[in-house]
Amino acid sequence: MKLSKPLLQALALGVALGGGACSLLQDEIEIQSDTCTEQEIVPNGVDKTGHLYNCPACGMG
């Protein structure tokens, strides 16, 4: 399925910024690196509470 160019660009930017870990912690969504504090940008999809954003889907065996 073809996706629009703006959506693909936003997706690429979101991925580049770390999968939205920063944006998830805000009420207003704005994908700009300067909107995130260092504490909010967290690697590997782990938020401030330590929870993983990546979904286990059903790989819980």
């Binding site: 979101g14 929870h51 819980m60 065996g61």
Partner: protein, 383 residues
Amino acid sequence: MSKTCSALACNLDADLLSAALPLFEAGQVEALEWSFDALFQIQTMPSWFTDLLEAYASEKRLVGHGIFFSLFSGKWLKEQQDWLFQLHKLSRQFHFDHITEHFGFMTGENFHQGAPLSVPFNATTLAIGQDRLKRIQQACECPVGLENLAFAYTLDEVKKHGEFLHALIEPVNGFLILDLHNVYCQMSNFELNLNDVLLLYPIHRVREIHISGGSWADSTVLADKKIRRDTHDDPVPSPVFDMLEQAIPLCPNLKYVVLEQLGTSLKTSASQAAFRSDFHAMDRIVQKTKSLQPKTPDYLFLPQSSYPVAEIPLESPLLYQQQKELSAILETATSYEQAAALLRQSNLAQTDWGIERWQPEMLETAWQIAQKWKLGFDVHPDK
């Protein structure tokens, strides 16, 4: 049947999305499966991810896959009511083409901790499962399905799983996800072939197929045996692609074939390239075999008539107590031997759980699974 789509299990995960981005850019992802209950404690998603979901939803190519509902929990939990409320809300926003959940109950006290394990196949669990599926269908107002479980304690359980799944979905006229890696686990762990297993499933009820990778675990009980586990942390093994090629032509109502892999196993460019290679291999099989599917009219898997739903959700205090006892034993025992000894002295002895017939290496595996997931996704031995 109109078309079988090649789909991705796609969630808000930087590594997974990074691996999938070239597939999206090439327009190769025909549908998305989203685990809508995985982003717990999160109030807002980034707008670009919402836009991605809405793009697929607008084409009726977004399906929802629940993980944490705990279908067979003997006690109706506040978290299950909240889960239904959230599902209802999301269904209004995204208009899922269908919603699915897993077979089993979740070990663990916390709603987002523990792992799904099987339950006895009896009248109590059947009634509870049917009641819960009706509530899911009422909440989402679209077709509802269940996925086969990878784990089983005994060969007898494997043989009865398909029939029990069929009985569970009957009141909502639901469908099955046939997870071929889960079937591969059962074939490996119980020395079966694909035809043995597929004959046990209502194959006309399969609307979705999953493929994924997994891992082999050593057994201390049977030193020469490796146990196949559904860990989603490795590329799809070639036998599973062979199984996909055999299975698609048998499924007249198949609509989605979904590739699943955990983002935690997609951190290197090599692993991301392997993931895309798996998607391309899957898509080639889908394109090659879908013309071999029986030509039948679209089947919607919606309830054919209204069904009664009790005001108060069904519960079984005895089942709940047994589940809590089993979870506690598996999560606190310091060894398989201790878990086995505690089970023999427990209230599960001489009941429908049939613990006396559980294969030792599979009890050991259940103990390992429970140990792995008892702290939820914050910490587990693979991280």
